[in-house]
């Protein structure tokens, strides 16, 4: 009995640490967004007079143009990734396309540091005269969002019973109609989760955005980095921008957390 209590207690302690590790920086950022530069220079300060000046400064700047670009990039990326990824995942799940290697091999590109890929992207973008647009950023994001979305969906497609596909084919439908009318509806929750997952991946990327987009088409993470100026880091306004970037992701994660586990374990375990 006592032993169980001890385990429970240690569990709680562990959870408290975990929550603190995640939540404290967020709380700090949230508080920082209401601090004056003077208050920010005294990290130990507990009581301070909140100011809205950081918020008014950032909200009146062109940060929302960057938000718009990020939304556009992530949306287009996810739209393409879901279409390509669902067909790829179905193919791998149902027909073992590419053999047993493709299931995990598909993620192999994730091992490469982005620096390996970014310069090819840059030079291709120059050759196609697409530099300065969002197109190369979308393509660079596809390079990691498509594999992840595909891998994520394999387990969902594998869980669709084969009989209902056969039934649809006997009922008079061709392969593609069977996929579209019978298989896809079964995996819609998975596709929704994959879309949100893919969206946050694209939304959070800074490296490709930094290299591939020049200053006149910055996406949000690059804009945030922009508060690190030659006069020093403008912590207050940066905190506001960070919050603007984080909040949609937190909300999205809240909705997909259950499916996220299903997708990750399903893709890994289902044989």
């Amino acid at each position: 009995m006592n032993r169980f209590k001890l385990i429970d207690a240690s569990r709680i302690v562990l959870l408290v640490f975990a929550v603190a590790a995640v939540a404290l920086p967020l709380v700090w950022v949230a508080l920082a967004s209401f601090k004056t530069p003077a208050d920010l220079n005294q990290p130990g300060i507990v009581w301070f007079t909140p100011t809205m000046s950081n918020w008014t400064e950032v909200l009146s700047s062109d940060i929302f143009v960057s938000v718009g670009r990020s939304v556009l990039v992530a949306t287009v990326t996810v739209a393409i990734a879901v279409v390509v990824g669902s067909m790829g995942a179905y193919s791998i799940a149902r027909f073992s396309t590419g053999g047993s290697l493709s299931r995990f091999g598909i993620l192999a590109a994730q091992v490469l540091p982005p620096a390996v890929l970014v310069f090819p992207f840059l030079s291709v973008a120059y050759m196609l005269r697409l530099n300065g647009t969002l197109v190369p950023i979308i393509f660079s994001h596809l390079s990691f969002v498509v594999p992840v979305v595909t891998w994520f969906l394999i387990g969902f497609f594998a869980a669709v019973p084969k009989e209902i596909e056969e039934q649809a084919r006997v009922d008079g439908f061709g392969r593609f109609d069977t996929f579209r009318l019978v298989v896809l509806p079964q995996v819609l929750p998975g596709i929704g989760a994959a879309a949100i997952f893919g969206f946050t991946l694209s939304w959070n990327d800074m490296f490709y955005g930094l290299i591939l987009s020049p200053s006149n088409s910055t996406i949000l993470p690059v804009a945030i980095a922009g508060f690190n100026t030659f006069r020093g880091v403008e912590l207050g306004p940066m905190a506001v921008a960070i919050l603007i970037a984080i909040i949609p992701v937190v909300i999205a994660s809240f909705f997909v957390q259950k499916r996220l586990v299903q997708g990750i374990s399903g893709g890994a375990v289902k044989g």
Partner: protein
Amino acid sequence: MARVTFDNVVKKYGDTTVVKGLDLELPDGAFTVLVGPSGCGKTTTLRMIAGLEPVTSGSIRIGDKDVTKLEPKDRDIAMVFQNYALYPHLTVRENLAFPLRAIRVNRAEALKRADAVAETMGLTTLLERKPKDLSGGQQQRVAIGRAIIREPSVFLFDEPLSNLDAKLRVEMRTELLQLQRRLGITSLFVTHDQEEAMTLSDFIVVMRDGEIAQQGKPKDVYDKPNSTFVAAFVGSPKMNLMDGSFTAGKFAADSGLTLAVTSVSAGKKILGVRPDDVILEVGGKSASRGRIGVIELLGPRAIVQVEAAGHSLTAVVEASRMEGIVEGAEVGISIRSGSQHLFDVETGLRI
């Protein structure tokens, strides 16, 4: 409405041959049952008609059309799977109407026909439900309803009753038979249950190891099984089979049991006797004696095991003749004259 013809159909998976040169004709408008132990190739045969398994060699025709290489959608067939395979995201009404979507029937018309089918299948009150909210029997009805809505030329049933409980299974059996009679659509029903096969079929095909063991009217197959395999497989409880040798008017089983039989040519043979043809008489005159073992009472009759000279015989005794038939009692054994089946010892084929 069409007959289905198999012409030397072979199916191989890698090096294993599952169906070995099948020649078979399903009569037009009849209810054919394909029966056999698991792994005999019966489901593969069904799936080849459906187009879900490619044929290795040979050809399959539905009516006059060679369908060997056609996609399932172009074969004009309907199928009921063992697990019903209802579309989980659609309501009962939408499930019923779904096959009509493939042939571009407009939505209003399709839903109207779905409602009509629902009425014949007794599903009217369930139209708005999703499959997960239905019982096994109701799901089964939806699956059958979905199969009949398009009025295809062939119905295929892959053990559709085996997931139902015993009582429902018998009910659905009758219903299925009435439905098929009414629609007159050529049907193929696959099962491993010989009783189901006997009761449902106009025409029965017994399969073994990828080959047809025997085909014909159920009564003919029952009355004249052409091998010991069919003899043991068809009929319940199963036929008594004994190795032994015949001399004038007498059969001496290798185990030691002797029985008086109708005169046959002498020699070593296998004697087969249906349990209903084994006659037990308490204190009877018969020279063959045995002791009653286990009795399974079924109601109108009982299945009785008789231990006789190291041999366990199965007999079926009418309830009205059960007097004196109790466990441990000694009885005289004889077989109804003319009821014996003879098989060759080497080949197991009927003599």
